[in-house]
Symmetry: C2
DNA sequence: TCTACAACCTCCCCTAACAGGAGAGTCAAG
DNA sequence: CTTGACTCTCCTGTTAGGGGAGGTTGTAGA
């Protein structure tokens, strides 16, 4: 008969842990003094505690260990549990790898030292929505493109004010294609810059003076998208390049983390022209739909 | 102003989590209605919650994130935290790799199907001890070797009974050298099989009739040893081969898990000849000192 | 205007595997 | 007989929230 301290020394399991296992029924003392409640173990129990430790080292939970100990399970069951655990560990390793790539991406950005932008990428789902779509005609000069877009938005605003449009408050600029700087590139393509205005279920197609017929469409949900919030520094100076830079970084981030970016970028205005005319107050989220590597 | 549900939908953080972060002070609502206690967030808070999520994805704790958010920390501090985290993740990955190798070792043993022995290897420290040492002279025949050892042990027992030896109850058979079956091999070396009897601090050298002078020595602690408990099936049939097989498996196990086994094996009798004459009741732990790969 | 029902609130308990500590009883040696 | 080492039973704390009870508030339809 060994007192708990002795058993603890032999097995190199702490007394606290032995108490805990007693409570769980994993290994109960061979004898308990009914007067003092002292626990007494025997050397015959050493194989059992060894077994518990060996299984714990493999990462099995105490609950699973309890099952394995109490019913002598068949070779097949045992194999099944181990295969399961194997898969779990593989999953953990992938997760660790993901985390590592994120940490190292950040470190590289810091090392690059270029007044590094805070790139807080979040993977999220994009909800499906009903929307009115308008394609901004291409312009080779930045100012013209911006002015044109402003005109479109104020036309929409008027329609909203007149009650012609029941919107949901969601306004998204979508840039189709790989192009990063749609307003400044000379060989810009048609139908590249699309404005989506989220609308309620009751909304139907409308015709607006100056920009024409807008029909209602459905945008399907996107399962996985890499997103970042643009900061003030990206927006001030009416610097559209800030938007483009984020998109580039987002793309790089996605690739570095094993995602396959789609061929478009969305800018969701949480607070944009519909809410304020001061660009410094804009809150804009860049969204890059991606495919997962699976 | 966004109610918590709306903010939750935009950020894709559950309401529960937002409550939790509020409590921790990670991100507090811009406004709380003093009457209803409703939390109101603003779109300006989206970058902050994004940042929190991005840092959390890297595996940082909420406490660390809190620190990073509240005091604008320098590039160097940031780099330091990330390097620390990087090291942590590497550690986790090594641990996962260790677990994986254990699980796969077991799976291989099961697949091998050879009435597979339960090999519950536990890594532990071996304590330093004072001991009396006796080298068993080599014998080419199994029975002779065993009989000789029995004689030695009973001589020790007599001495103990006479009070000549103050022992600690610890009896260890050490087999020096790679040899697995010391009793049966023809080219057995001298001074290969050593018996250690742990003794108390007061014990000094003794001279025993029949086996001669035994001096007291110190055995240093072993930092890392792979150990298994021998089972009844290993011990019955007075089958010394069971001992040897465990040693072989122990060695393989150690190598498969990145340890470098030393050139000796110890058998610690938790219950051996000193306690019982019935070999079926023996409780014996095989110990293989190893070096870690670090 | 009444009534659902959705959204929101504040507790409170639960997780896994113990560690730490308080306060009290027990054991062995000097 | 006393000290110091052991042991006991509670109780709390750890991480990052999830689940649910029980109560209030907000909104939309009849």
């Amino acid at each position: 008969m060994l007192k708990i301290g002795e058993f603890s020394r032999l097995s190199q399991v702490t007394i606290k842990t032995l108490h805990h296992y007693d409570e769980l029924g994993l290994i109960k003392p061979a004898h308990i003094d009914p007067v003092t409640n002292y626990r007494f173990y025997t050397v015959e129990q050493l194989p059992r505690i060894h077994r518990i430790m060996a299984l714990k080292e493999m990462g099995l939970s105490l609950e699973q260990i309890g099952i394995m100990l109490e019913k002598e399970l068949s070779t097949d069951e045992m194999r099944g549990m181990l295969h399961l655990k194997q898969a779990e560990i593989h999953q953990e390793m992938r997760e660790a790898q993901r985390q590592l790539s994120m940490v190292e991406f950040r470190l590289r950005m810091i090392e690059a030292e270029i007044n590094f932008p805070e790139l807080d990428v979040v993977i999220k789902k994009l909800e499906a929505m009903r929307y009115l779509s308008f394609f901004v005609a291409p312009h080779t000069r930045l100012e013209k493109g911006l002015a044109y877009r402003s005109m479109v938005v104020s036309t929409l605003q008027n329609a909203i004010a007149e009650g012609v449009i029941q919107h949901t408050g969601v306004l998204i600029d979508v840039f189709h294609g790989e192009m990063i700087l749609p307003f400044t590139s000379p060989d810009i393509k048609e139908r590249q810059h699309e404005i989506l205005l989220g609308v309620k279920d009751t909304q139907e197609a409308v015709k607006l003076k100056g920009i024409g017929q807008l029909t209602v469409k459905e945008e399907p949900a996107v399962e996985t998208a890499a997103t970042v919030m643009l900061e003030k520094s990206d927006l001030k100076d009416i610097n559209i390049a800030g938007y483009a830079e984020k998109a580039t970084l987002l793309r790089r981030w996605a690739i570095a983390h094993g995602y396959k970016p789609h061929d478009l970028v969305r800018y969701l205005s949480h607070r944009g022209l519909l809410q304020t005319s001061n660009p410094e107050e804009f809150i804009i989220e860049a969204q890059l739909p991606v495919d997962t590597g699976d």
